[in-house]
Amino acid sequence: MASHVYLLFTLALYAVGALHVLLQALTRRKLLTSWTVTATLAGFALHTASLSQRWTEAGHFPAVGLHDVSSFLAWAVVLVFLMTYTRTRVEALGLAVYPVAFALVLVSNMTPAAETDDPILKGLFLPIHATLAFFGYAALFVAFAMGLLYLIQERELKSRSPRRFYYIVPSLERCDSIGGRSVEVGFGFLTLAILTGMLWSHRARGVYWTGDAKEWTALIAWVLYVALILARHRSGWGGRRAALLGIAGFAAVVLTFVWVTVASGVASAAR
């Protein structure tokens, strides 16, 4: 049960990050200190160890059932956040990432691991499909968070009497460009995830498209993102509308995700 122990420590370290970021937001403006970053890096290392341990324990890639899925998703979100942070130094992103990472790891800690030895989970399709999907979700989550930050900062600026968030949140242009970039990256992963999912379904069941609700939601989210990216490139769409679409797209993704994890517990091809 070593993966559980690792995960518990991970939870504690992410909690440090979450609490610290929120406290800093209430008192001062420097959101991320070296303490927060160190705690997060340590948490992330333990998290990685936990996942790898869990892989051995489960005998298949740890992306099946709520316990594994939420843990893996938190891992991807933290990784994408750390990568975004090293590139852009946008600290306000931590306000969205830390609580979410903490909540996901908490859920994982509180749910039992699903034990299944379905032969369909043995191949390479599960690791590839799941990894692509999770990185896609994580990048789209960052886009969602940047969209929210955009709307918040826009409200602050429109109000003409800036309060706390005016000082914390980066400029509109930055929220917009980072959000746009994250959408593109997330969309790429999402597309690949959908393609591998179809291939997997074909291999397992002989059909590419089963037509269940989960596939439809995925498709709707995908179309939304196509529209968003096209609008941005073709007619200079950006700012508020892009932020709103990014948020809507992510809502569709969350819907898909909740459907899969809660309703079925296993990726569609595995059912």
Partner: protein, 421 residues
């Protein structure tokens, strides 16, 4: 011991400070006269519009302080009785703390204002050039300036604009991020528009100026900003290319209507949703307030800019507490370090140690020699004491000399090591 005598915006009205200020031209002369007349081995004068302060080093605090006050009044030919109520006098740790706080702009009228650091630097430089800066004040310079820089870098006291023209720049940054290659349109060529535009151009923005009745003025300003001038009739086409508009005409009514902005924003599809920052610094206002309701348009008038400046000042004051803590820690470190320079405890220790050795060796000798007569006992005592005194004479003189010159930590540390103390 470091001494400070002076007056500031907290203790005195501007007229008094003016009458006691030292201009750049007289500074070198004043520094040398201060050293000679007030009898302080080291001297520095900080003279800004908010404070006039004399920094010196001296032994008798009371007397040296008095002489500094007399010099300050004498130099400006003002009677001391008149000036005395405005003066403060600080010595030792208090003077050190004051020097640190002034450099970190914690004593400034606007906390965190950036000029003071440069002014303090220049004051020390002037003293160095005049040859009145010794090791004590030089150490104070190094440590207080380093602490001030740390306070600025590690706390938010220097952050957030507190003047209207800087607030405009800061807001532009919050909207556009980078200002490089952004187009600034000036409508009307007033003083305040020019100031704000200058800040923007310095950050890489391009300026164009719309001329009104006096086109020459617009051309002049455009040349000064490295931009171009355009006639007022081309308002809409200029507006279409602009990211930031600063309007400050003397016109009695609205100059930029909501329709103008709407028209411009729907005319060019490619840039339809890019933000537009409208700054209205005219009284009465130039820009229709309704224009600020359009999507992606941010409209600030003079009152809005002022209220942002006030909010920023409140943020700074919150940060001041953190800066105070940081500076206080630096002050304590400096005082500790200063104490380590003090040679008096070293001299006492040295003497005690030598006497201890003398006694011990004397006892051993007595045991071997057996009973001695009173004369023999006295002679032995005198001889050993003389040896100790003669050996210690030169180190004592030298140490006192080092202390008189302000001392150097490395020297004292080396001597301690050498003597095994």
């Amino acid at each position: 011991m470091i001494l400070v005598v002076g007056l500031s915006h907290r203790t005195s009205p501007l007229a008094v400070r003016e009458s006691l200020a030292f201009s750049r031209e007289v500074l070198a002369d004043a520094l040398r006269r201060m050293r000679d007349e007030a009898g302080v081995p080291e001297a520095m004068i900080l003279s800004t519009c908010n404070r006039v302060e004399l920094y010196g080093r001296g032994q008798q605090v009371e007397a040296a302080g008095r002489r500094l006050e007399e010099f300050l009044c004498g130099f400006h030919r003002r009677p001391l009785e008149e000036v005395a109520p405005y003066l403060y006098r600080l010595a030792g740790p208090d003077a050190v703390r004051h020097a640190f706080r002034v450099a970190a702009s914690l004593e400034s009228m606007v906390i965190g204002e950036p000029q003071i650091l440069g002014q303090v630097k220049e004051a020390y430089q002037a003293a160095e050039q005049a040859g009145t800066l010794g090791s004590a004040l030089n150490a104070l310079r190094n440590r207080s300036l380093a602490a001030a820089k740390r306070a600025r870098a590690e706390t938010g006291i220097g952050q957030n604009a507190v003047s209207v023209s800087y607030v405009a720049v800061e807001l532009a940054r919050k909207i556009f991020g980078e200002l490089r290659d952004k187009n600034v349109l000036l409508v009307g060529a007033g003083k305040m528009s020019e100031l704000a535009a200058r800040h923007l151009v310095r950050s890489g923005a391009r300026a164009s100026v719309l001329g009104g009745r006096t086109f020459e003025r617009a051309e002049e300003l455009a040349a000064a900003l490295g931009g171009r001038a355009a006639p007022f009739e081309s308002l809409r086409s200029e507006l279409a290319a602009a990211d930031i508009v600063i309007s400050g005409t003397g016109a009695p009514g609205i100059v930029i209507r909501r329709e103008d902005v709407e028209h411009v924003r729907s005319a060019r599809r490619g840039r339809y949703l890019r933000p537009l920052f409208l700054i209205d610094i005219a009284v009465p206002r130039d820009i229709d307030p309704a224009a600020g309701k359009l999507e992606g348009v941010f409209l600030y008038d003079l009152d809005d800019l002022r209220s942002v400046a006030e909010a920023n000042l409140r943020e700074r004051q919150k940060e001041a507490a953190a800066a105070e803590g940081l500076v206080e820690r630096e002050v304590r470190e400096f005082l500790e370090w200063q104490k380590s320079l003090d040679v008096v405890p070293l001299l006492v220790e040295l003497r005690q140690r030598a006497d201890e050795i003398r006694r011990r060796e004397l006892d051993r000798a007595r045991r071997r020699l057996g009973p001695l007569s009173a004369e023999q006992e006295a002679a032995l005592e005198a001889a050993t004491t003389a040896i100790v005194n003669k050996l210690l004479h030169s180190p004592t003189v030298q140490l006192k000399e080092i202390a008189r010159n302000g001392g150097a930590a490395e020297q004292v540390a080396f001597i301690r090591k050498l003597l095994g103390l």
